[in-house]
Amino acid sequence: MDLFGIPAPLLFGQLLLGLINGAFYALLSLGLAVIFGMLNVINFTHGAQFMMGAFVAWMLLNWLGIGYWGALILAPIIVGITGIILERLMIAKLYKLDHLYGLLLTFGLGLIIEGLFRNEFGSSGLPYRIPAELTGAWDLGFMFMPVYRGWVVVVAFVMCLATWLVIEKTKIGSYLRAATENPALVQAFGINVPRMMTLTYGAGVALAAFAGVLAAPIYSVNPQMGSNLIIIVFAVVVIGGMGSILGSVLTGFGLGVIEGLTKVFYPEASSTVIFVVMAIVLLARPAGLFGRS
């Protein structure tokens, strides 16, 4: 059976692959959305922090002998701590200023971090293997599905769900949401809002690093791996609605699928299609699909 001139099994395979890429977009845009929602800062260092996650995983393995599973827990913590330091030393000073200052600072920081890694490790990348437990592939009949990619989708979905639950259903999440609406009032109730903002930034950065560890076995671990993604992820956040968590996650998965289909029908446009969607959404709904204007 053919759909649009493409055999249906091939099309299903591509939908599935799009979903997997969407998982990365969702995880990264989730972190961006959490940070923007709370701190009002568009964190352009996010791509570099994603890359740091992958590099820290490599360092843990090659310098300390800690494998993939350890890295999945340790790398986000380590990179998250660097995020906390960054927030305390620099980003916290910009909260009272226009969004643009935060954007410029984090963009510059991203370039500096990328440059430092490039000087130290070169541009061509480092080897990182798929953990032994997740090697191999399933034959789905219509395509050959690597076990590791399946793992990525599942773990990314669980992570997104967990973050959403924490923010929407827990007490700490309610403080967070309240502080987003009216920080002065929440502070008056005796809650340490600056500390909460610091920890939120750390958590957002840790999410990026977590995605970086997930990416290390399948993408080349190189300093520019994050800058390739950050612009797309930023577009995802804009389409989903700035600061909307559910919006970011759904849009991440959705755009992964749209991009995947473009790779079948007209691959030349696969890096442009997301921006076409962004332009259309901005024209029709300036606040994004799930944003509140």
Partner: protein, 405 residues
């Protein structure tokens, strides 16, 4: 906006007692225009500048004052063309390296317009010595035709008669796919399909891997370079393509092998005219430059090409005098073509009327982890193609310089 991150002035003229003004007018300025911040940085980049400086160093004391500068073209033709124009206007005599064919084609045009010299090592498009050839351009290390003939031709003759290409969507990828297709068809094979992906900014190739698999072709032809090639090979293995397809990394180089690791890259076949551990001369060259190369890595083929091209250029300049060389770029290139080349990286060779530098090329197989005896011991030599056969025959390139003469 040019980013000149280091200047090195090698003063040899002072020893001859020239006045500062005389020395200034006779300074040979060489600009290394390369990828310092992108995917091609490791195989070109700062290493290309170091190897160019090495050639200049070896000319110290021969009556030439040589200045080597470098800049980052960010793989963008507009940025590269701007820097080239600015450099040539400010007295740069020769531009060296220029990876990324789209940038190199623009620079070649500007060198011709301003009658300067362009020593290309990093860009691969065979058009630079074909329809777009120029009396001001020399193409050193490799080109898409030579890579296609060696890696592509070998695989086609070894039974790889059906191909699927994953191609970087710009001048280089198109040229490489076109040149390989010719050899595949000559060997009686067929191309079953191709996916052109946007360059740069593509990280995930899984969609193309599945499409390649569905095409049932025997060979996956990677018409790309740098981290893209590494990503493709990694993901081809992940999706099990290697069970029933062979991977042809058409511009696979030592740096990608290093980044993949031998356990992933083992058994792949690739073509390079220079490998640091090829013979005594290449080892001697490596020993001279290695301590100054980024991370202490051995020189890559394109970097060695910058050395060889600059050395031959400086020999020519010394031969005709700096003043004459500065005045007429086309005359320098014509003289470069008249003199045989000889350097430690590529041995002896010559430059043809179309600007193509010819030398023997080597087909390598990546070692298994067990075969490798230490860091950077990566290749077994499979075959050598003599210089006369390695490149596109002079008459077939469609270079106007050839048909006219």
């Amino acid at each position: 906006m040019s980013i000149v991150d280091r200047r090195s002035l090698l003063v040899a003229g002072a020893a001859l007692g020239l006045s500062p003004a005389q020395a200034q007018s006779q300074t040979i300025r060489i600009g290394v225009l390369t990828d310092i911040s992108g995917p091609y940085r490791d195989p070109t980049g700062p290493g290309s500048a170091v190897c160019t400086e090495q050639a200049a160093l070896e000319f110290q004391g021969r009556g030439l004052t040589i200045e080597v500068i470098r800049a980052d073209h960010q793989n963008r033709p507009d940025v590269g063309a701007n820097i080239a124009r600015q450099w040539y206007d400010q007295g740069v005599d020769a531009i060296v390296d220029v990876p990324t064919s789209s940038v190199a084609l623009a620079v070649s045009q500007i060198a011709r317009e301003k009658n300067k010299v362009f020593l290309n090592s990093g860009a691969a498009s065979s058009d630079l010595t074909g329809p777009a050839c120029s009396p001001n351009t020399v193409h050193f290390t490799y080109d898409t035709y030579m890579l296609a003939r060696s890696t592509g031709g070998t695989m086609a003759r070894a039974g790889g008669d059906t191909w699927y290409f994953v191609t970087a969507d710009y001048a280089f990828g198109h040229a490489l796919q076109r040149d390989v297709t010719r050899f595949v068809e000559q060997a009686g094979g067929r191309v079953l399909g191709a996916a052109r992906y946007p360059f740069p900014n593509t990280t995930d190739f899984s969609s193309f891997m599945v499409q390649a698999q569905a095409s049932r072709a025997k060979v996956l032809g990677l018409a790309n370079a740098g981290t893209d090639t590494a990503n493709c090979i990694k993901q081809a293995r992940e999706f099990g393509l290697t069970r029933n397809m062979k991977i042809a990394g058409l511009l696979l180089s030592m740096m990608e092998v290093h980044s993949l690791g031998l356990d992933v890259a083992q058994g792949l076949v690739l073509t390079e005219p220079f490998y640091w551990n090829l013979n005594d001369r290449t080892r001697a060259f490596t020993a001279r430059v290695r301590s100054r190369l980024p991370n202490g890595w051995p020189p890559a083929q394109v970097q060695a090409g910058c050395y060889g091209a600059t050395l031959h250029y400086l020999k020519t300049v010394a031969d005709m005098g700096a003043a004459a060389a500065k005045a007429d770029g086309a005359a320098v290139v014509a003289r470069m073509k008249a003199m045989p080349t000889d350097d430690d990286a590529f041995g002896t060779g010559l430059i043809r009327p179309d600007g193509r530098k010819i030398h023997p090329t080597y087909l390598w197989e990546v070692k298994t982890p067990a075969q490798s005896r230490g860091a950077w011991d990566y290749f077994n030599l499979l075959a050598t193609t003599p210089a006369e056969e390695a490149f596109r025959p002079l008459a077939e390139g469609g270079c106007p310089l050839v048909t006219r003469s």
